[in-house]
Amino acid sequence: MSLSALKAELQSLRERVTGVMESAVATVDGLVVGADTDTVSPETVSALAAATLGLGKRFGYEVGLHELREVVIRCRGGYIVVYALGNIALLAILADEGLDVTRLHVESRPTVERLTHLLASERARA
């Protein structure tokens, strides 16, 4: 997989969606694959995002709400959004409080598709 292609996807998402500040792609067990970060540690974001995604999936099934769409966390200073990339990885996005969450969901869909494809084709080559 081309790491530059992955980073280009993350930068493109930041430029397309107002409010997106930083992002990272990680494996489901919390290891960094690639990141477009500024102030945060990609390792920390990856590890916490993996735990968040696992918890969100489990929570959804336990309470009968079925399959996880995404995890959205809202804090005073903004949002943390975690999307699953197939069953092997995740995309974590940090955004400020101006984020239009609905727009992010729409705009991130093709990014999630392309990142999933990138990771799957890399896996097939390995």
Partner: protein, 264 residues
């Protein structure tokens, strides 16, 4: 049915389509709220700038928001003065209208607000006449044309030219804060959110810092969408690929139904 340019009565919402667009609340013809991802709202201006503490905001929100009296709770608890709060709410609306117009308005869709809809949390009372808002937005857009000559647009990601040293005295705090945040990743809008300051004020300071040679502008990426009312100028003397508005095409006046002729 409310249409652009027709008199507006009752309580309505204008959903502004654009990149990123936003929402304008209108009550009895007066604009009481405007919010957009392109500029910080009143909550961000109050909390991020430190004018209201997070704790005070939470307490006032819990006590007041369910009864639509968040502003009254903030004032009653002494978190912020009544006049100060109205100034912040007013400036947030003017900044939002400016930001929406600056980033480009494609269309707008009026919607009637029902009794079960949640009203805006911090409305301007009694509200801003639409002509006033449209005129002020047009004035600000005209000023941005001057900044554009320096290469300052909403799409730039400026970088501080020199390392930033801690301030010795409190003067020019905003300029200092902007230089600290200008790391080549943040747009003016991102800096405005990070500091809890209005987009117009931040753009103004950035222009000043650029003209003084304290901020550098990397070649901006092409704007995401070139709208029909935006003309790309190919002129060797000016920065390339910067969109330029044609005068009177920001659509804000038409959107607000404001008549700006004869100085009204």
């Amino acid at each position: 049915m409310l249409r652009m340019g027709e008199p507006i009565s009752g309580f309505h919402l204008l959903r502004v389509m654009g990149s990123p667009g936003g929402i304008i609340h209108v009550r009895e013809g007066l604009v009481i709220s405007a919010t957009t991802p392109a500029s910080p709202g009143a909550e961000s201006l109050l909390i991020r700038s430190g004018r209201v503490s997070e704790e005070a905001w939470n307490e006032a929100y819990t006590a007041g928001a369910p009864q639509d009296r968040l502003a009254a709770e903030l004032v009653d608890r002494g978190s912020v003065g009544e006049a100060g709060l109205q100034v912040v709410c007013l400036s947030a609306v003017f900044d939002a209208a400016f930001a929406m117009a600056l980033f480009g308005i494609e269309d707008s869709q009026p919607e009637v607000i029902g009794p079960n809809d949640v009203p805006p949390p911090l409305p301007v009372r009694p509200g801003i006449p639409r002509e006033w808002l449209a005129r002020e937005t047009t004035r600000r857009l005209t000023i941005t044309d001057e900044w554009r000559e320096l290469g300052v647009t909403p799409f730039i990601r400026p970088t501080a030219v020199r390392p930033i040293t801690p301030m010795q005295i409190g003067a020019d705090q905003l300029r200092h804060d902007i230089l600290v945040k200008a790391n080549g990743r943040r747009t003016p809008r991102d800096i405005a959110f990070a500091l809890g300051q209005g987009l117009f004020v931040v753009l103004k300071e950035i222009s000043s810092l650029v003209s003084e040679g304290l901020l550098a502008i990397a070649p901006p990426p092409p704007p995401p969408v070139v709208e029909e009312h935006v003309v790309v100028v190919e002129d060797e003397r000016k920065p390339p690929n910067l969109p330029r508005r044609r005068p009177g095409t920001s659509r804000i006046a038409r959107l607000l139904g404001a008549d700006l002729r004869n100085g009204k």
